[in-house]
């Protein structure tokens, strides 16, 4: 940024907009406040403000824009007292995802019975698509319809004119038609032809021919996916040797199952699918987890134990991630023997949870309950001489953070803060959480007299801390570095 020229200064000093001071070069954003203030102070003649400015309703849509008008014309009807007219605002909003351009968007229909009959009937009696043109007498075009070449047929399909696919009878003719459709790249037409082929060719032959036609195959896979023709899709994937894809595709189905029992059974069936090695492990874990959650849920729902009365559950544990489940277990089932499904130790072992994750989770849960004793024992290790020592895989600064978040008393905080090795880190945390003793002791250990004097200004005059600093500063034994 540039410094204002002297004449500017003069101007600003004499004007009533004293809000502008350009002295503070470093902070761009103090200026923003200033420009805002300036803007506000400019509000001189409010009433005729917007006269010639584009009108904008509060929601910001320019009055007259389409989305504004949809609301507007609709609500004018509503206000005219049509009681029977349902409110337009509560329209279940239509799916917004999807481009409106793609194959996928063509097929997202409800999979009702009607729908299946639709794709069947596509080729059943007449393979004509009824564009409005067709409501002209049929005889008009029937005669020459049978002579159309694949090129002509595809062209007519693209133009939305009447067409017939019935005349393509032999395999060769059908494939010519397909190739022609593919070469035009129009997904709409390709899919229409594929549906005809699906109906009129045996699965084996169709699959064989599709394998030689990559683009047609992609459209077909997509079509089956969108239509939810799971069984056929799986067969196709098998034929293509794409078994991982097939397995995942089937696994995905579980998302549509609401009932947890059915979901569990479905996942169990998934276990035999040919997943990649890694995915297989994850799916196994997923199944095991849900199975356990169902058992735990059934027991805990009654909420007999004291802990449930004291801390009623806010939600069911079903379908929660494993880490959440572990937290739950550390909260409600801590100290249960390893043998029970709900015990933290058992969950940790079954799901191969890393030590770090386990400590983080258990710490969070026990700190929430203010069980400082449990927190303590999480970090206790005995060495071979039998001395207890505190050890943590996550760094004691993280431990302190979590404890602080759960409102741990100062003594507890200090204990863990003292275990932080890095003095800088310790100092910054201690200052942040106002653990004066630690700050003072650390400066003493660092022999940093200057900082200690500075810090004295931050504690209350005459307090315990103040006296402690005073004593230290007077202590002749300490060899201060400054």
């Amino acid at each position: 940024m540039t410094r204002p020229k002297p004449e500017d200064d003069e101007y600003w000093n004499s004007s009533k907009f004293s809000a502008f001071t350009f002295d503070d070069e470093d902070d761009e954003f103090t200026k923003m406040k200033e420009s805002k203030r300036a803007v506000n102070s400019m509000l001189v003649d409010d009433d005729d403000d917007d006269d010639d400015v584009e009108k904008v309703s509060w929601s910001g849509e320019p009055i007259g824009s389409i989305s504004w008008s949809v609301k507007e014309t609709a609500s004018s009807i509503r206000s005219s007292g049509e009681q029977s007219f349902p409110k337009i605002d509560i329209t279940p909003s239509l799916p917004k995802q999807g481009s409106g351009y793609s194959l996928s968007s063509l097929f997202k229909g409800k999979q009702s019975k009607q729908f299946q009959s639709f794709s069947e009937s596509f080729t059943d009696t007449s393979v004509r698509a009824y564009a409005p043109e067709l409501r002209k007498p049929k005889s008009e075009c029937k005669d020459y319809m049978s002579d159309w070449s694949p090129e002509e047929t595809v062209r007519r399909m693209r133009k939305g004119k009447v067409f017939s696919l019935e005349r393509f009878r032999s395999l060769q003719e059908k494939l010519l038609l397909l190739d022609e459709a593919v070469s035009e790249n129009d997904g709409n037409v390709i899919t229409a032809v594929l549906i005809y082929l699906k109906k009129s060719l045996s699965k084996e032959i169709l699959f064989r021919e599709l394998m030689l036609r990559e683009i047609a195959l992609r459209h077909y896979v997509h079509y089956l996916k969108e239509m939810g023709e799971q069984k056929l899709l799986v067969e196709l994937m098998k034929a293509l040797g794409r078994t991982d894809d097939m397995a995942l595709m089937q696994y995905k189905e579980h998302l549509n199952i609401k009932d947890e029992g059915q979901r569990r059974d479905f996942l169990k069936n998934c276990l035999s699918l040919p997943f990649s090695q890694d995915d297989a492990i994850h799916v196994q874990d997923h199944y095991t987890l849900l199975e356990r959650q169902i058992i735990i849920e059934a027991n805990d729902k009654r909420g007999d134990a004291e802990i449930f009365k004291k801390f009623p559950r806010k939600a069911s544990i079903l379908n929660m991630p494993i880490i959440t489940t572990l937290y739950y277990s550390c909260f409600y089932h801590y100290g249960e023997s390893d043998g029970t499904f709900s015990s933290p130790a058992n969950i940790r072992k079954t799901f191969r949870i890393s030590e770090k994750q386990y400590i983080l989770t258990a710490l969070g849960a026990r700190a929430k309950l203010k069980s400082w004793f449990d927190v303590d024992s999480l970090f206790n290790t005995k060495n071979w001489l039998g001395y207890t020592k505190k050890r943590s895989p996550i760094g004691f600064h993280r431990v302190v953070d979590i404890l602080q978040k759960n409102n741990a008393p100062v003594q507890v905080l200090q204990e863990y803060m003292n275990l932080i090795d890095d003095p800088e880190l310790k100092l910054s945390l201690a200052q942040k959480y106002k653990c004066h003793d630690i700050v003072i002791d650390t400066y003493r250990d660092l022999k940093d007299r200057q900082q200690l004097i500075v810090y004295r200004g931050k504690v209350e005059r005459g307090s315990k801390e103040d006296k402690k600093i005073e004593e230290l500063l007077c202590n002749m034994q300490i060899r201060w570095k400054n």
């Binding site: 010639d52 481009s99 063509l106 945390l429």
Partner: protein, 628 residues
């Protein structure tokens, strides 16, 4: 209304006018008074083409949103459905038609499919037994929508997913179609360059379509000299990085849809003197953002750190202009002052809005904006570990995130498990944030070591749920996440050759495109820049490291249409991003257009305007259940 479309190098208003003309023609086909029933999704894109007034001129008296049941009563002759070709919408239309009140005078029904009619949808209507109820079934080809003076978008949200994950190339077909329409209006584009599989496919389709029209020569003098088609997967890195331009940040934080943004209303309440505690509005404030607004056009492409100064400069100018009224003594002077008032008031409102937006963003990014990032990264690295997470404010989160991104982009420790990412997972930060970072690390390391990848995967699945194997698999399929297959990481070579990282990026007075990410120069734009000068031959080696073929095609022009370039006249290049483009990339291209000795001006087209979050979200399975 759309004057801003004609200010650019290429008058995009022609395209908009063509679209409006077609719309009018269709409306006139349905003679008499009419009501439009809208597929809600379409109102946004249509808003970029037409206002309600246009429809009203053509006897559109009512508009409704499409929903089940009966079309609301309206005393009109025609009911027109404006819909995307989707089967579930056909079911609703059928329900509408069937429940039409038989006692009322009959109304005529019409359908306008956008952007294409569909055989299957028509078949579905027939199935439902309503196809014969329609007087007109038509299509409204809306491929490329003029978004701004130099920007076209297909507004096709799932194009990337379709092209790269599901291998559905339908959106590429529409791209090619859209480019043909564009050439019909602006002349044949003599040179086509491209990089990537999809680019190749689009170019092939275009050349084929041109051959089909071989009979009719396009007699329009070409406006565009060059078309550059770029696959998004050639540059997977750029959208993952947090955009640091003003417009980019607005999009990252609040999301811009169809040129509009919704903002928290608190900062927009105008406090008028003497009106103390007025009720604050609770509805989000919706603002339109485009170059029609002078101030916005000026600041949107600036690095956010330069926005404060620009705003304050503007405030000064406007205040001075308002002060003029004290100097206006004669009637003539006063009259002149008054005549300028509307413009000044608009400018003042605009300033007020952007000051508020900048404040909102500042609250979130303030650490970024008060530090100069570039030289401090080592100090910061230490600083970040020190910062305790329990008391983090948003700005610290933003800052830490940015620091890690910049480390990855400069190649620091990309082969190890990153502790910041681990911490984010253990804090249960939003999954998309985690995925953006992990993908970025993978891209910057040309794949992650198997052990590192497995670790991230396990942590993500354990913390966010096992069902996310689906999403992780999707990310692997499109190449955003992958195990390292060779020991050789070619990212450093790419970074150095293309100068993707500039240590001394100048945010205030930029001299290089890297200012848009405060140091990182978007790969896609670097490729564009190098194509113009000195040409891709100089970077053959790097081009080979990036996925997909690169190619050049020429389209013959009829004699007489060859442009005779004036001395010093700039070339015009249309850059088409297949699979999406970010606002920061657009800013970088605009920067190149404005460079004094650049020699090339750019018009940008894309399937969709994206940011890292919307992009990753489009690749997730059932994202709605997972966004927290």
């Amino acid at each position: 209304m759309a004057a801003h479309l004609s200010y650019g190098r290429v008058n995009l208003n022609i395209l908009r006018e063509a679209a409006r003309k077609e719309l009018r023609e269709f409306l006139d086909k349905c003679a008499g008074s009419k009501a439009i029933v809208w597929d809600e999704y379409l109102t946004g894109p249509f808003g970029l083409i037409a206002q309600y007034s246009l429809l009203k001129e053509h006897e559109v008296e009512k508009m409704f949103t499409l929903k089940g049941g009966r079309v609301p009563p309206a005393d009109v002759k025609n009911i027109i459905f404006f819909v995307r070709p989707r089967l579930e919408l056909m079911d609703i239309i059928a329900e509408n038609v069937m429940s039409e009140d038989k006692l009322q005078p009959p109304r005529e029904f019409h359908i306008l499919f956008v952007p294409r009619r569909s055989l299957l949808c028509e078949q579905r209507l027939k199935e439902q037994g309503v196809l014969n109820s329609f007087t007109n079934i038509d299509e409204y080809i809306l491929d490329l929508i003029p978004y701004d003076g130099d920007l076209l978008s297909m507004e096709s949200e799932s194009a990337f997913r379709e092209c790269y994950l599901e291998n559905d190339q339908t959106s590429l077909y529409h791209t090619a179609k859209g480019l043909m329409t564009l050439q019909a209006l602006y002349g044949t584009i003599p040179q086509i360059f491209g990089k990537g599989e999809c680019a190749r496919h689009v170019a092939n389709m275009m050349l084929r379509m041109k051959r089909e029209f071989a009979g009719s020569q396009n007699q329009i003098l070409p406006v565009f000299d060059t078309l550059l088609l770029l696959d998004r997967n050639v540059d997977l890195l750029t959208p993952l990085a947090t955009q640091l331009t003003y417009e980019g940040l607005i999009d990252e934080i609040y999301g811009i849809t169809n040129g509009y943004v919704k903002l928290p209303p608190e900062k927009f309440a105008q406090k008028k003197p003497g009106e103390g505690g007025k009720d604050l509005p609770t509805e989000p404030k919706k603002l339109q953002l485009n170059s029609a607004e002078e101030l916005y056009a000026e600041i949107r492409d600036k690095n956010f750190n330069a926005v404060g100064a620009a705003l304050s400069k503007k405030a000064k100018i406007i205040s001075a202009a308002f002060e003029e009224r004290h100097n206006a003594k004669t009637v003539g002077e006063i009259k002149q002052f008054v005549s300028q008032l509307p413009h000044m008031q608009a400018a003042r409102n605009s300033l007020a809005n952007h000051t508020s937006i900048a404040e909102l963003i500042k609250d979130i990014t303030s650490e970024f904006s008060s530090f100069s990032l570039l030289s401090l990264s080592h100090f910061l690295n230490y600083f970040c570990q020190v910062l305790p997470f329990s008391s983090r404010v948003t700005s610290e989160v933003f800052f830490d995130n940015l620091t890690v991104e910049q480390e990855f982009m400069t190649g620091v420790d990309t082969d190890k498990v990153n502790t910041y990412i681990e911490d984010c997972i253990s804090r249960k930060d939003p999954l998309i944030k985690i995925l953006r970072l992990v993908c970025m690390q993978s891209v910057c390391n040309n794949g992650l070591k198997q052990k590192v990848l497995d670790h991230y995967k396990r942590e993500i699945l354990q913390t966010y749920g096992y069902e996310h194997i689906l999403t992780l698999n999707n990310l692997e399929k499109v190449g955003l996440l992958k195990p390292q297959t060779t020991t050789r990481n070619n990212y450093p070579t790419i970074r150095k050759t293309l100068k993707l990282w500039m240590e001394d990026a100048n945010e205030q007075n930029p001299n290089d495109i890297s200012y848009v990410y405060s140091g990182y120069a978007p790969l896609s734009v670097r490729l564009t820049q190098l194509l113009a000068r000195p040409g891709w031959r100089s970077i053959e080696e790097v081009l080979k490291m990036l996925p997909g073929p690169h190619f050049e095609e020429r389209q013959q022009l009829p004699t007489g249409l060859h442009k005779k370039r004036q001395q010093g006249e700039n070339r015009t290049t249309l850059v088409f991003f297949l699979g999406g483009v970010t606002y920061a990339e657009i800013a970088a291209l605009r920067f190149l257009s404005q460079m004094e000795d650049g020699g090339t001006e750019y018009v940008i087209a894309t399937t969709k305007l994206i940011n890292g979050t919307s992009w990753i979200k489009s690749l997730m399975d059932r994202p709605e259940a997972q966004i927290s």
